[in-house]
Symmetry: C2
Subunit: 341 residues, 2 copies
Amino acid sequence: MSPARTPPGDGGPRVTIRTVAAAAGVSTSTVSRVFSHPHLLRASTVERITALAAELGYVPHHAARALSTGRLGTIGVVVPDIANPFFPPVIRAAQARAADDGVSTLLADTDESAEREADLLRTLSWRTDGVVLVSSRLPDDDVRALAARRHVVLVNRDVDGVTRVLLDTAVGMAQAVDHLADRGHRRLAYVGGPAPSWSDDTRRAAVLARAAERSVDVVDLGAHRPEHDVGLALAPALVASGATAAIAFDDVLAQGVLAGLLAAGVDVPGDVSVVGCDDILAVRTVPPLTTIHGPSDEAGAVAVELLLRLVHREPGTGSAERVVLPAELVVRSTTGPAPRC
Amino acid sequence: MSPARTPPGDGGPRVTIRTVAAAAGVSTSTVSRVFSHPHLLRASTVERITALAAELGYVPHHAARALSTGRLGTIGVVVPDIANPFFPPVIRAAQARAADDGVSTLLADTDESAEREADLLRTLSWRTDGVVLVSSRLPDDDVRALAARRHVVLVNRDVDGVTRVLLDTAVGMAQAVDHLADRGHRRLAYVGGPAPSWSDDTRRAAVLARAAERSVDVVDLGAHRPEHDVGLALAPALVASGATAAIAFDDVLAQGVLAGLLAAGVDVPGDVSVVGCDDILAVRTVPPLTTIHGPSDEAGAVAVELLLRLVHREPGTGSAERVVLPAELVVRSTTGPAPRC
DNA sequence: CTGAAAGCGCTAACAT
DNA sequence: ATGTTAGCGCTTTCAG
């Protein structure tokens, strides 16, 4: 086990493909092939060179490879906010899927700012073969323009003409309405999320549609930033609305509402039922939150898969795919029968 | 505004430094210098070439530059679990600090596995100039070995001989003990975190030390994975211990304990006070959690700063620094006077 | 202040 | 199944 060598401690000139070739008495191309297309070589050769390379402490030079192949072997994953618990599973799955193909991922956080997102994308374009844009805050046209110049896959954003992976929470929202209607609720409130957002639009629409079918009233409590405080502040309005159940845009908002309700002495689910979305908080609320769970990890993996396909396919090939993954209701303890009046 | 061009839609050959040089009637070296050492050129030249380059849609080629300079312009940030809310602020600050120097960050998640961490570090070493290891799960010796071969800065891990940035929660822990002692608590419980961990060792030690000074009893409730469920399951033991207050290794554990206590009908802080650590949950618990807040973002930034210094300094220079940032108690609503017996 | 030329380490035709 | 030979796009001495 002689130590591999790299920057610190210097330790003489770098071990390159050439060093190894010389030591093995073969040409550099053979060594190169050992690491890129081993199937083109005799097994014994591959084995011998691999061992020798390891012994010499040879480490492939990423930049050099990238320069010759024109492929960086790195993709970008851009999210609005790492700290938002919705994203980590997506990110993790994306990284894992990329790693399977030996591709590294550059993770970028836009801090919820479209401007910063644009900046970041500019920087990323120097260093990546393509980008997965999760819940992009960019205007549709900007997204299309970007996709025209770079390989892009969207997650949780539905822009025509751009490859995208969507978590269809509409299914779950409809289930939530059914769930509540089945338990006697006749009037429910929708606590909306960010105004210009695909997620909120589809969620609200799904609630309204299914509620209409079930002849349940819906009070629209407006569009809001998905933050705990906001939900908390909304509790009084919810109570005033006369609704016996609330469906919130996401779990954070729902948790806020929950806290507000408890603070106001309203029993959940005795007096009011609450449903969240995204299953971000799992059972960490008190009581555990009924919510809508989608395969966000799968979304990340699929997005990377599609991206890698784009990267490897020659330009112009294939049209923008649109993958929809269904999200479903998970009943926990914040929903129950409507209070008898 | 002619559009920059990159992979998709092909669009002819890449715009290189050569294209720009030809168009400007200068040599490639001049163009190169415009982007790397503009101060060596006449201002007017710089301006002219910059404008021209922008117009032609020239984008520097990262890999090529890396190959020439031997510096990748990328650092790695390795965390055990992106989804753990303690890390995002660290990551974000690290990225921001790196971006200030035009350095990209490769984020890797080890999924709490030392083995996977080792794997990842191997991969990262091909593609980065150095690594920030946050809360590494690697054995001390492995960390030292790594640091001998690569530029490494540790966060939240104290290994002798390796540059590191520590959040000294011991200060906060002592404050917590004082806070409780001042309010009449004579017997408190420490709910420990992961067994082989610098954080847990120092926290526990700090609690014991200050408690001894204040003649307060401490019941050690053991070492545990910092998860909600675990904390929840520990509530009965806490009650049985007769302690009137619990200090937990971190907020997640504290929140679990809180939930378990509430479930058991124990009033917080009426009957039992609870203190967390890391200020991960902010005011999102009910009631809002008293905890210990440290500048984790600063830790991330400082770590990157130190790393970049290592990267740019020639080998062998400077000895391993040890930066300690103090974390302090934040009193919220889960602590109060000891119940009168 | 700017140009010319020699690579950085690797891959990819093209030969053999 | 391997060797030969050009570069990939950029930086960087060394000259001028």
